[in-house]
């Protein structure tokens, strides 16, 4: 098989050094009845060329899909640098002296995420936006002893599902969904008001799952009504054009940053981010990198506040997370550095402008958006299943059908436009309708 490095002769010499006759004997400590005698039904071994032939390039399609995973252009330098083996083939930076590269890159990532969200600290990443929200809910139980988690129903349905999965493990906590206004697509503020309470933490996605911008200022004015509140960022690129959510005073800003330099790749790996204020750092889940110095006084970085984590605090840890999305965070740092402030603003604006362009075209064809409130780069229209599937067959995926998550929006399709789409794409969709 490939990837081994011992010659037959070296094998023999090790066996004789160990005083055994065969490799079988290495396993004599395994009870005989547990030694597998069959032959595994696997495929291979395949050479590289055969492997490549096995995985054909997929056909290209015109896509207007998003819904939590976003197609954004990944600058060439991101792959060029992120593929460096020193980053790819290293372990979690537990030994700081030979991991300064990973550590400083994560520190840069933390700095940029904190800056973009308007918060004081960020962790080194979590699995995805959904588990970040679940961790946020668990943290609010921990720091404020809340018994109710309020989540706007216009938050990504998969996120809400993951929160439920996590919270059903904890007794005596209620997950309560705040409905959205069927006309505007934004959360129903009066419903929220009636759910206020010091025993509750409130989370909502912004822009929400329908693309609609939530009235964050109005919510911030109600913040004394909750034990804490947090904003879940949908498509981190939106931070390029919207005001940093942290400036409104939320305790947590979390979400999905796959958009920063990570390809869609069938839905993963994604990049959950988690930002908070300074007074809550010690209760945060996940790894954190800090700046310090070495014994000669030279600038150095290391993992810090590790006593929160599972390898030290075990069952009392703030989270069980160990391996996270390190390389994806590095890619995000590379992306943000490559784009810069103007680049990120332009990309975000292009997404929004493109979405408005397409909406106008659709509206001219009598296809109106379901919701009236301003959106970022996604909006909901109605399209019957037959048309949707015909378009799919023709190589145009007009969006995501959301009826299974929102039965009240019959034939609802979530349409997303990013800077990866062209005017040509939009016209193409229109002519095939």
């Amino acid at each position: 098989m490939p990837f081994l490095a011992l010659s037959p002769q070296e094998r023999e010499s090790i066996l004789s050094f160990l005083g055994i006759r065969s490799e079988e004997e290495l396993f004599s400590c395994i009870p005989e009845e547990l030694r597998y005698a069959g032959s595994l039904s696997l495929e291979g071994p395949y050479d590289e060329q055969t492997l490549r032939a096995r995985f054909p390039l997929p056909r290209e399609a015109v896509l207007f899909t998003g819904g939590g995973v976003y197609r954004h252009y990944v600058p060439a330098l991101v792959d060029a640098v992120a593929h460096r083996q020193e980053f790819v083939t290293s372990y979690t930076p537990y030994q700081p002296e030979i991991s300064q590269g990973t550590l400083q890159a994560i520190f840069e990532y933390q700095s940029m995420m904190a800056s973009l969200t308007g918060m004081e600290a960020a962790n080194a990443s979590l699995y995805d936006g959904a588990t970040a929200l679940a961790e946020a809910a668990l943290m609010s139980l921990r720091i404020k002893g809340v018994r109710r988690i309020l989540i706007s129903r216009a938050t990504n349905p998969t996120y809400r599902a993951v929160v439920r999965t996590y919270l059903q493990q904890v007794g005596d906590v209620e997950v309560h969904e705040i409905p959205f206004n069927p006309a505007t697509g934004s959360m129903d503020i009066s419903s929220l008001k009636s759910s206020l309470g010091s025993d509750a933490a409130f989370f909502f996605q912004n822009p929400n799952y329908f693309g609609v911008i939530e009235p964050i200022e109005e919510i911030s004015r109600m913040s004394t009504g909750f034990a804490l509140w947090g904003v879940v960022i949908n498509d981190a690129v939106s931070l390029g054009v919207l005001s940093p959510p942290g400036t409104y005073g939320s305790t947590l800003v979390i979400g999905e940053a796959q958009s920063f330099g990570n390809p869609v790749c069938g839905g993963g790996p994604l990049l959950g981010f988690f930002c908070t204020t300074r007074d809550h750092i010690r209760k945060m889940p996940g790894r954190i990198v800090g700046l310090t110095h070495d014994h000669n006084g030279k600038q150095a970085f290391c993992l810090t506040l590790s006593t929160r984590e599972q390898h030290i605090r075990r069952e009392k840890a703030t989270s069980n997370i160990c391996t996270n999305q390190g390389l994806c965070a590095l890619r995000a740092a590379l992306y943000l550095s490559a784009m810069g402030p103007i680049g990120l603003r332009k990309v975000a604006s292009q997404c929004a402008s493109g979405a408005r362009y397409l909406r106008k075209l659709l509206s001219a064809k009598g296809m109106e958006t379901v919701f009236s409130w301003p959106f970022f780069h996604e909006f909901v229209v109605r399209m019957d299943e037959k048309t949707f599937e015909r378009l799919e067959q023709e190589g145009i995926v007009p969006g995501i059908r959301i009826e299974s998550f929102y039965p009240e929006i019959s034939d609802g399709v979530l349409v997303t436009v990013t800077e990866m789409n062209t005017k040509e794409d939009c016209r193409c969709l229109l002519t095939r309708l």
């Binding site: 010690r282 590790s306 006593t307 030290i312 605090r313 009392k316």
Partner: protein
């Protein structure tokens, strides 16, 4: 290892100093040296009622966490807030400025269960074996 003669000790390496019907509590020299450089201290709030073995605080080094337990029953009537800013004091002055809390004891005779200096010294020696 410094073990002042006038203090009382627990098996969890807290020390106590009788002050009338109250007990001032900290951690022993042995405890601080086992933990190494202390980087963080979190103490229970003033007024918290505690019983023997209940948590009065948490002390952290870079690689370890240790909970500090109350030797007696009572209410916390003083908390050494300065430790929050200067946790390293526990390494330099664990029997002095780095005291942690003062507990007003429900029953001052409860300290009879605690070890004297010699008993604690013997206990440490036995533990080392």
């Amino acid at each position: 290892m410094v073990i002042p003669e006038d203090l009382l000790y627990t098996k969890d390496h807290e020390w106590g100093r009788r002050e009338d019907t109250s007990l001032r509590v900290g951690i022993s020299d042995y405890a601080q040296s086992e933990l190494g450089d202390i980087v963080f201290v979190e103490l229970e709030k003033m007024g918290t009622r505690v019983r023997p073995g209940e948590k009065i605080g948490t002390v952290e080094s870079v690689k370890a966490v240790s909970e500090i337990f109350s030797p007696v029953s009572g209410a916390i009537i003083e908390v050494n807030d300065s430790l929050e800013q200067s946790p390293e004091m526990i390494n330099t002055d664990c029997y002095g400025d780095a005291w942690m809390v003062l507990i007003a004891m429900d029953d001052p005779t409860e300290t009879a269960h605690l070890m004297g200096a010699q008993a604690y010294r013997d206990y440490l020696e036995a533990e080392a074996k």
